[in-house]
């Protein structure tokens, strides 16, 4: 079962143990009487009838979601879908009206304000769409903001802030005001501010949405780079499905306050399950999303010969032919676009893991099918089909 969405497997199994944040049946209602509104909802009223009858808006509608430790979990939705509301409920900038939010297994929806403040200072930090930097304070003071609120002395907090500025590559801008920086640099400061508190959980609310496309993609790169060494638990809010695919280890799609689809990026694109989600996935660049293991014929040796340890020793075009080492090898997580670049038809493609063990083979037809999204690549491209095509 190695090829079956390893990330998804990681997400779903042992959820209780690995989820840093666990949101359970969360509701948030905007209006003059959330309690009465909640009763109506429990009584089966819909979002629309609630709005029509009471004027209350159901912002978050019974959302349950786990955010695994060390993952980037993306909440994706169009404006008004409740994604930012949900994110603000997690650190209780907005108070949820019902449901639980477990941080490392502890429900934080009922903790008192002092405890909550401590959690915000040490365990959950946040990055904002328009950066949320204090314009009158220098870059380093902004980065040290959370530490100052925590009561750290000037020298200590500036030293820490200086280290984090180094990490995001803005050391030389420490004494400048934010207005001297470009958008991308400002958001690096915003990110540095969130990292400086050493909180494990980062809520990133449309963090890159205000940036130019090029800078945005640069910042996504930067986030992935930081994440590969810091392993924070990131709750990333975005309206951009491409961004969600690029960053997310898992994606939750929201619409009208409710969670309508949740899963690993490749799973969602492969099987949107609803027209609403399909509308987002239609134009996805599959070649850059899907990887080798999503299209390989698992364990299918397809002419490859293996030694007992599982390593590929060679390849035969047909039974009785000479053993050849003229074939392409790719790693299981190699993206299709890179496989396509490496492929030299008719040489076959072997998927080989880090230890050099054979995982499966990829046919060129499957590669094309996977990149075009014609249909499920694994099932359409049998070995026989390949022979006929190539």
């Amino acid at each position: 079962m190695l090829s079956e969405e390893p990330i998804g497997r990681l997400m779903n199994g042992d959820a209780q143990l690995t989820n840093r944040i666990e949101i359970r049946n969360l509701y948030k209602i905007f209006g003059n009487d959330p309690r009465a509104a909640l009763k109506r909802i429990e009584g089966g009223a819909s979002k629309n009838s609630l709005l029509a009858d009471t004027g209350n808006v159901l912002g978050v509608d019974n959302v349950s979601l786990g955010v695994p430790k060390g993952s980037i979990s993306v909440i994706m939705g169009l404006s008004g879908s409740g994604k930012s509301t949900l994110a603000r409920c997690v650190n209780r900038i907005l108070e949820p009206d019902a449901g639980e939010i477990l941080l490392d297994g502890e429900d934080i929806t009922n903790v008192d304000i002092d405890k909550m403040r401590d959690i915000r200072r040490r365990r959950i930090s946040m990055v904002f769409q328009n950066f949320g930097l204090l314009p009158t304070k220098s870059v380093i003071e902004n980065v040290a903001f959370g530490l100052k609120l925590r009561g750290l002395g000037l020298r200590e907090r500036h030293q820490k802030a200086g280290e984090v500025l180094e990490v995001v590559g803005l050391s030389q801008w420490a004494s400048h005001l934010p207005e001297a920086l470009s958008g991308g640099m400002r958001q690096r400061v915003g990110l540095a501010r969130a990292l400086a508190t050493e909180a494990d959980v980062l809520i990133m609310d449309e963090a890159f949405s205000a940036l130019d496309p090029l800078i945005r993609s640069e910042m996504q790169e930067e986030l992935l780079r930081l994440q590969s060494s810091l392993h924070k638990t990131v709750l990333f809010i975005t309206h951009d499905f491409q961004e969600a695919l690029r960053l997310g280890t898992q994606i939750a799609i929201m619409s009208d306050g409710a969670l309508i689809r949740e899963g690993a990026p490749q799973d969602i694109v492969r099987d949107p399950q609803s027209d609403y989600v399909a509308a987002f996935t239609r134009n996805v660049d599959r070649a850059r999303l899907f990887d080798a293991q999503s299209i390989m014929l698992e364990g299918d040796q397809d002419g490859f010969t293996l030694c007992p340890s599982g390593k590929v020793t060679g390849w035969r075009a047909e039974d009785g032919a000479d053993l050849s080492d003229d074939f392409t090898t790719v790693a299981p997580e190699t993206k299709l676009i890179d496989i396509a670049r490496a492929a030299r038809p008719p040489r076959p493609i072997a998927v080989v893991d880090d230890a050099g063990r054979f995982c499966g083979s990829i046919t060129h037809a499957a590669l094309l099918a996977g990149m075009s999204g014609a249909s499920d690549a694994r099932h359409s491209a049998t070995r026989e089909g390949v022979r006929a095509d190539v």
Partner: protein, 314 residues
């Protein structure tokens, strides 16, 4: 026939009785209010009058140079020399002391009140109509209860100045804090700010330019009122004008008027410069002549502004 004259509400009588009742029963309260004003006023006035004019000129010009740049500093030096030469120096100092006292008290009352209003809609709902009434009531009207409750002289004058000058500061403080970007407030909360930290670290620094704009308004209103309170016996430049008018001594009234205009220009430019400096937009004066020309023109324009703001206050 219905005869209006038979139906009359004796409101004037009631008001008189009410104020007399207040004055009679709450005398200790008003004395308590009066005491710090009197102490502060005396302190400032005595120090200003004890300072040799030349020392004051140098120090004040230096401060002006530091805050507002060369142009205003030169103007200030000329203006102060002129005030000395036309022989209204002590009156100018008294007026300055009156204004300074009023401003200090306005800041002490206005900014905290503004903060309270910004934090609580209930407070603002209560304060706002009070400010509306205060700002639409002609400032002459304040003189009557002030005289009844505090007596006549410079100290009651200072109280009247405070009453007239404080509303814009409350309004602007409230406005400035309420206008702070929601995302900045959220950032403060998200990083664990207490209410106090939020106020000092986020709200006040962001609101400061607006608050200083309010301070500018307050200073100008104080200037206007500092002249008007001459009618209840407050000393200073206003009294020079009032006496000149009383004796039909146009020359003397004119001299007082010129003094008022010069002080008003300096104070307005100075407080504007403070407000702008916090924006980080210190204007670098160009050529001396250009600076002077701008100053005279800007000062003239502001003088009109002063009158206008005064008129709004009245």
């Amino acid at each position: 026939m219905f005869d209006m004259e038979n139906y009359r509400i004796p409101l004037d009588h009631w008001i008189q009785q009410f104020v007399e009742w207040l004055a009679y029963n709450f005398r200790p309260v008003f004395l308590t209010i009066k005491w710090p004003v009197e102490e502060l006023l005396n302190l400032i006035e005595n120090s200003l009058l004890a300072t040799p004019p030349l020392v004051f000129l140098i120090v004040f010009t230096g401060i002006t140079l530091w805050i507002a740049g060369r142009g205003l500093a030169i103007f200030t030096a000329f203006a102060l020399v002129l005030l000395m030469l036309i022989d209204i120096w002590p009156e100018t100092m008294t007026t300055l002391a009156l204004i300074a006292t009023a401003i200090v008290i306005c800041v002490l009352i206005g900014i905290p009140t503004g903060i309270l209003c910004a934090r609580s809609d209930a407070t603002w709902r209560f304060v706002r109509p009070v400010l509306d009434i205060m700002q639409t009531t002609p400032s002459f009207v304040y003189l009557i209860p002030v005289v009844m409750l505090f007596g006549v002289g410079t100290v009651p004058g200072a109280v009247a100045v405070v009453i007239v000058a404080v509303p814009p500061l409350i309004r602007f403080t409230n406005l400035g804090i309420r206008m702070v970007d929601r995302e900045l407030i959220e950032a403060g909360i998200a990083f664990g700010a207490t209410d106090r930290q939020l106020l000092w670290e986020v709200q006040l620094p962001q609101a400061l330019p607006t608050i200083l704009g309010g301070l500018n308004q307050t200073v100008l209103l104080a200037m206007v009122m500092a002249v008007i309170v001459a009618m209840i016996g407050a000393e200073g430049l206003g009294l020079v004008v009032l006496q000149g008018l009383g004796r039909l001594d146009i020359g003397r009234a004119g001299v007082g008027g010129i003094g008022i205009v010069l002080v008003a220009i300096i104070l307005d430019r100075l407080t504007q410069a403070i407000a702008n400096r916090k924006h980080g937009k210190t204007k670098k004066p160009g050529g001396l002549r250009l600076a002077m020309r701008n100053l005279v023109r800007g000062g003239g324009a502001d003088l009109a502004g002063t009158g206008e703001k005064g008129a709004q206050g009245n």
